[in-house]
Amino acid sequence: MTAADISCENVRKSFDRTDAVAEFSTVFQAGRTTALVGPSGCGKSTILRMIAGLDAPDAGLIRLGPETPKQVARRGGLSMAFQDPSLLPWRTVRSNIALGAELARKPAGGVDDLIHLVGLDGFADHRPAELSGGMRQRAAIARSLISEPEFLLLDEPFGAVDAITRRRLNQDLPPLWRRRKTTTILVTHSVEEAVLLSDRVIVLSPRPARILSDIQIDIEGLRTAAETNSAKFQALKSKVLAALEEAA
């Protein structure tokens, strides 16, 4: 599997005459993780939905490698984790996770490894109604990973996850993405999470979304929770926070 860029060129989108995204252009580099941060309602999720092919831009061009989002979707090269876990209530955790592979028409190998990775050992045969909100969210994250997508879109997927698990996921997931060379876009409200998980943070303006600042996160090697105490991490975090404050 070779990694590919996601490119957005002059993308515009409005809903009922309200501009949500205006002239958004950037390239999300292949195999790297980019975080989108910005004030609530600034259009981050709209950008993600357009890249996923869920909404069509009013103008501009979105390409995943050489293909359109729909083309990538049709061959199962894309997956997304939503703010809401959206599990099918009649399927077990295992079967909900396997659904990701089933829909992408790929073999569902490694479900148990993923269940372990997201810390749901012992809950494989439970149904969503028997799980807490955070556990459901973790199952949804596992579902987005099972198909080994080239492009992974994460729309605030850690919102409902408890602090300790969130910390563990923040530590365990990036190495997986890097190993698989997944081109990942993460929408998040947490500045710390953005800096910890990504190689680059894009700060967006209030609606309509425009790029205010584009910050490279040049921390080498394995990132652990301990890293968050380092001076470099703190400096990067302050930089993103300052840009965000400017946006608001």
């Binding site: 996923a52 869920l54 049709r74 997956s79 939503f82 959206s86 829909l103």
Partner: protein, 510 residues
């Protein structure tokens, strides 16, 4: 505990019933339990064969009707553009009173069980279609997004997500459909079958055999309720958390301009004429009984024929409209009154839901016995037919008042009346209108059946007469006119609904 109490209730009812019967021996309209039991024991073989016949037809019709409903609902989901045509045709067919299509089906099928099965199917498909469409649509957008992300289309979404998610809705529809299928089969038998409970009922009524009429009404209602209970059991097993559904038509094309709506209606009318003429030509049906649109037009252009028809319609509407309004008013009124005594409402709800499912037509002969063959009897049949569905829908509607609003009112310490008037009744209106719409065909069915069985006047009788004298032009004219009246009344209720809900429940029209 509850079982003992129910048993005691049944025993008490039977004792009171017997006591009343003993007070009035040899009454022409009342039979006691012992008389009914004697009749059933004395004619058990006959009754059993009739029950098997009717139940068999009802079951086959139930399967066909629901199969068609299922196919139509899937079509609407897979090809959303087809929705308005499918919905309009489905509604149109639903609006034809069963008693009107009965004689025509009888001529088309000849003797045998064809009409009974078709009528049973016609009696069930619409409620199943509506609740299934609601159910297939009632999935979260995240699920459709999820399917889109993986490049899956409408078919995969239907198979993987929608069908399974719609099960609770499907079963709510199926449960109402079970007794309705029984009703359809019986009406098919009224219109000229050789075997079945409907045939025996007709014979008992015409021969003024009170014990037989009571026995048949009891058996028919019990069998219909047995169907309701069986589907209910399966529903409990498969989908324990059933949703509350106000059975209403899928959203109309309310966003279209007036000319667009006129064009839409004209297109549907043209399609109906085309299907009518085309299917008769395609199957090469004998023009002696299979009348085409042109025949009817020619027939009705004679003023004498038109007058006969309109007079009959006038007589029918004079009974149908008061019955319709009385049924709606009583249902909504009782729901509101019950709301003031919540414990009573809670206690009555299960009974009302069950009684809603009793095909009233099976007990129509008893109402005729009790209220006579005139105005009161007919209006009572129409009103009772509409009363229970309205009561249940309105109670559900009243309960759907948002709890925050109730809390808000209570925090100001307002009286229960004030809460009812300002918050709960407006919340009930969508449910009331939904049942008012569905009650239109029900009212026409009830009034024409009552005429057919008992009163001897109106369009129901005109159809019975013309069917037996082979005056097929008049028979078809009756059917067309009834259908037009039903569609017109349905549209009128829908128009009022839109006006009222725009003020009280704008979110329902969104």
């Amino acid at each position: 505990m509850t079982v003992t109490r129910s048993l005691l209730g049944v025993v008490a009812t039977i004792l009171v019933w017997e006591a009343i019967a003993r007070i009035q021996p040899n009454s022409v309209f009342f039979s006691g339990p012992s008389d009914v039991a004697n009749y059933i024991i004395g004619h058990s073989g006959l009754l059993f064969r009739a029950a098997v016949e009717t139940t068999g037809n009802a079951v086959i019709g139930f399967l066909w009707g629901n199969f068609v409903a299922f196919a139509l609902a899937c079509l609407v989901i897979l090809i959303p553009r087809s929705e308005w045509v499918v919905s309009a045709l489905a509604l149109l067919v639903f609006c034809i009173p069963l008693i009107a299509s009965g004689p025509i089906l009888r001529v088309l099928f000849g003797p045998g069980s064809g009409p009974q099965i078709t009528l049973a199917a016609l009696a069930v498909y619409y409620t199943t279609f509506l609740s299934l469409v609601v159910g297939l649509r009632a999935i979260s957008q995240n699920w459709t997004d999820l399917m889109t992300i993986y490049g899956r289309g409408r078919l995969s979404t239907l198979l993987i997500v929608r069908l399974r998610a719609s099960l609770p809705y499907l079963f709510v529809g199926l449960q109402i459909a079970a007794p309705a299928a029984f009703l359809g089969a019986m009406i098919g038998e009224f219109t000229g079958a050789e075997k079945g409970l409907g045939v025996l009922t007709l014979r008992a009524m015409r021969g003024l055999q009170t014990d037989a009429t009571w026995a048949l009404a009891l058996i028919s209602a019990s069998l219909a309720m047995l169907g309701y209970a069986c589907v209910g059991l399966i529903k409990e097993k498969l989908t324990p958390h059933a949703p509350t559904i106000l059975v209403s038509t899928p959203r109309g094309r309310s966003d279209h301009s007036f000319p667009a709506q006129v064009i839409g209606v004209a297109a549907i009318a043209a399609l109906v004429f085309f299907l009518w003429q085309g299917s008769m030509d395609a199957f090469n049906l004998n023009p002696f009984f299979a009348k085409r649109p042109g025949d009817i037009w020619q027939f009705l252009s004679h003023p004498a024929n038109m007058n006969t028809l309109l007079n009959a319609l006038g007589a029918t509407l004079a009974y149908a409209i008061p019955g319709y309004l009385a049924g709606l008013a009583l249902g909504a009124g009782l729901a509101v009154v019950l709301m003031l005594w919540p414990p009573v409402a809670r206690a009555i709800m299960p009974t009302a839901i069950t009684l809603r499912a009793v095909p009233i037509i099976t007990t129509a002969p008893l109402l005729v016995l009790a209220f006579g063959r005139g105005f009161t009897g007919t209006v009572a049949i129409v009103a009772v037919m509409i009363f229970f569905p309205t009561l249940v829908a309105c109670l559900q509607g009243l309960r759907q008042t948002p709890t925050q609003i109730v809390d808000l009112f209570e925090s100001y310490g307002v009286t229960r009346f004030k809460l009812l008037r300002s918050a709960q009744i407006p919340a009930m209106l969508p449910a009331l209108f939904a049942s008012a719409r569905m009650a239109v065909p029900a009212a026409l069915l009830a009034v024409t059946t009552a005429e057919w069985l008992a009163t001897g006047r109106g369009i129901g009788v005109l159809m019975a007469l013309t069917a037996s004298t082979s005056d097929y032009n008049m028979l078809w004219s009756c059917v067309v006119l009834l259908c037009l009246v039903a569609v017109g009344a349905f549209a009128m209720v829908a128009w009022c609904e839109k006006r009222v809900l725009r003020i009280y429940a704008s979110e329902q029209l969104a």
